[in-house]
Symmetry: none
Subunit: 139 residues, 4 copies
DNA sequence: GTGGTCTAGACCACT
DNA sequence: GTGGTCTAGACCACC
């Protein structure tokens, strides 16, 4: 149950709520935070937690089930797949998608390989410094 | 006017068509393929070219105008902005968005800085080899 | 539009309505009554026709889309897949399922191959005679 | 009691577990594997064997009793009906249902009588060859 | 007009 | 308690 804290319940208006929650779950799966075979909270519980309608939450689980990530046991609840290899699969697939979407966009913008890498490094540095500043603040 | 060939007219169903066409334009602006002050095709022409509804095309131009990228001259058509700095601005903004979206996703998936860079390099290599193979094929 | 008459709107209570309507569609696809690329009635129209809620109808189309049988065009409607081979695929798959379910059940009941065939033939005869009687009635 | 091995305990999620177990019993009755008047295992035993909830098992026996297939003797357990004709009845009824469901589906898919018979024969052949192969493997 | 999402609330079957 | 289905009605974006 400890993983519920990983969720925030503020959603952006561009993408459907159920899609956003779906991604939250897949990320937890990919990071191994939810273990294979583990029971996940009931639809109603999650709906309360995230302050969405139960039907919306139902849809999230429905799509996760469709994609083979979780499965329902009648009257008992939903469980993360027992398939160990799934975690790896999900992680690899999502990372690959992110990378290739990113590359496609940058190429479309006319960036060359080296430029892409330098832009990325630049941004990473900024993030790090941002974190440092935060740490200083919190001291 | 030679830039129309840069458009493809197969759209995916998830994102609005007008949004997809909008991005096609901004990319051409960012890459400098459309020159400042250059006239762009009429709404009707573009709608025919891309096989979309004229209303949809209308909306694209409307949003581009709202963002200051193009402007209409009464009775003569639409023109790309004369503001030289705009090209730079658009380019930088779009690249920055792409980079930070990408980073956010990879962090959420549990990747560390170095891993992100290696994943990216790996993928770039693959793309290059794919291109080589294509060239061989076409010989 | 002529195929709407093929639907009845009395459903049994054991299986979900959306599932029953789903099967009605797949049967029409399998029989080639709905042509590839053909537009199918809007969600709201079908909901009225079949006297079900629009959400229920939405779900039917959603599942048909998921299975690659139909696809939606934003603001325009739903269309049966352009993939010619799909009709054959669906037909074969559904028939095969029916046959193997039937065989499995009969074997589980202890029937042997010849018995199964005779039972089937017997029933077919009955159906035919039933039809004849109906024809006589209607004369 | 030797018939318990005829049960498998992996259930599908679409149909209620109690319904699936119910059918397992009726099949054994229909095939005469459970003899008239024979004692059947206690609810608790069966629940353990099949790894289901005792309440679920309770419901199975309840429905079997409702249909006159079994009856309880106070304090001693459940027994298959003494009515000899029951075996025949059950068998005929289930077979008839299977046949007519199958026919209905095949007709709905647009198959004609002869086609149905050939499809069936084809599949029977396949099953037989599959069995042969299995036997070869196990040699 | 079209599809798509979301909410609220009800009812049911299953464990 | 759990999941699953269905209804009614609203609102939005898209074409």
């Amino acid at each position: 149950m400890g993983f519920v804290e990983n969720f925030t319940s503020d959603f952006d208006n561009k993408t459907p709520i159920y899609r956003q929650i779906y991604r939250l779950f897949t990320r937890l799966f990919a990071r191994g935070i939810i273990k294979t075979g583990e029971r996940i909270p009931s639809i109603r519980d999650m709906a309360l937690q995230l302050k969405v309608n139960a039907n919306t939450m139902q849809r999230v689980y429905q799509e996760l089930e469709r994609d083979g990530l979780i499965h329902s046991k009648r009257g008992t609840g939903y469980f993360f797949t027992e398939d160990e290899s799934m975690v790896e699969k999900v992680s690899v697939k999502m990372a690959h998608e992110a990378v290739s979407n990113f590359l496609e966009e940058m190429y479309a913008l006319g960036f060359k390989d080296e430029q892409i890498l330098t832009e990325l490094s630049k941004q990473i540095k900024l993030v790090k410094e941002g974190d440092k500043l935060e740490n200083i603040d919190s001291n």
